[in-house]
Amino acid sequence: MEKTCEDMGILLSAYLDGEVTEVDRLKVEDHLATCLTCQRLARELDATEEILKKAFSDTTQPEVGMTGMWTTIASRVDFGPSIWQRLKKLIQVRWVWMPAAIATAAVAVLVFLTPFQSPERRVTITRVESISSRSGQVMILQAGKTSQPIIWILPEKEGVG
């Protein structure tokens, strides 16, 4: 059913505001092409919109004291606990912080002591000078890289044959 001019008013207004569907846009344009009354109404609505925009264009935004306003707002909103408050609450639970504290202390001790421990010195055996087996022990005389003589005394069963 074809819309009458009376029904067309609201649709025409929405059309001028860019608020119609594609189907309605085509309907309005078809109607406007032949209806002089609606062409006149469209011009009037357009002009009224312009007048309204002009009249409201120079209304300035009020000055708002944000600092005071925000302080009041923030004090009345429940934002939940902050990170610090959450940590504090966690620390108050003994079964969480006791083992955590012990573990932290143990790690700290390890970290501090490690640099003071002398590393294990490895000796490169270059050659065996002599083997003497008297009194059930094996004696090995060895010259290391530094040419310092090293004497090993081992039980006979572990000695090198």
Binding site: A14, T48, F56
Partner: protein, 200 residues
């Protein structure tokens, strides 16, 4: 944080670690417009500031609620529209409590006697006569809009501020068709008034 959209800020406000901080950014971004929106309804800057403040308190308390709870922000409309919806309800509450509402609700555009406040014209700006006519028309238009019903006035003002019909429907808790109808009839009333006054 200026590069973050409202939706991103809202999301951070709901789930982030610095909720308070993100909320303050949202407040700073919208406080001037919300106050202006309220001021058009209450005509008193101090009352407008109080209502705007109350709007933000309600909005942020709702944001802190889980999304499925009643009154919480569901994110199905822009944050600004949702905020203005709260402001609009706050204004209605204000009028319900105030005796001024009674006074206002009984005046319509048809009762308007055409008297507007005196206009200050500076002779330095263009032709004073043209300027006077222009200023007269502006004052008459503003006065005509002010005499519309609260709902029509809110609808036309939001429309002039660039809100889409759908957003206006969200703010005024109406539907898109009714918004379209209100805008059309409000424009017709204003045009008829200006025509009668010989201003167009």
């Amino acid at each position: 944080l200026v590069f973050l959209s409202d939706e991103q800020l809202v999301s951070k406000c709901q789930t982030g670690f610095r909720k308070r901080h993100y909320a303050s950014v949202l407040c700073e971004r919208h406080s001037a417009y919300v106050t202006k929106f309220v001021l058009r309804r209450v005509d008193d800057i101090e009352v407008a500031k109080d209502i705007a403040q109350e709007t933000f308190v309600n909005a942020f308390n709702s944001l802190m609620k889980p999304p499925n709870k009643e009154g919480s922000f569901r994110g199905d409309c822009p944050f600004k529209s949702w905020l203005l919806g709260i402001a609009y309800n706050q204004c209605n509450d204000h009028w319900r409590k105030s005796a001024r509402r009674h006074q206002k609700s009984h005046v319509t555009i048809d009762d308007f006697d055409g008297e507007v406040s005196p206009i200050q014209i500076s002779s330095e700006q263009g032709n004073p006569e043209e300027k006077l006519i222009e200023e007269e028309r502006k004052a008459a238009v503003r006065a005509a809009v002010a005499q519309l019903s609260e709902l029509d006035k809110t609808t036309i003002e939001l429309h002039l501020d660039g809100f889409r019909y759908e957003e206006i429907a969200e703010i005024t808790q109406s539907n898109v068709n009714r918004v379209g109808s209100r805008i059309f009839y409000a424009k017709k009333k204003i045009r008829n008034y200006l025509d009668k006054e010989g201003l167009i």
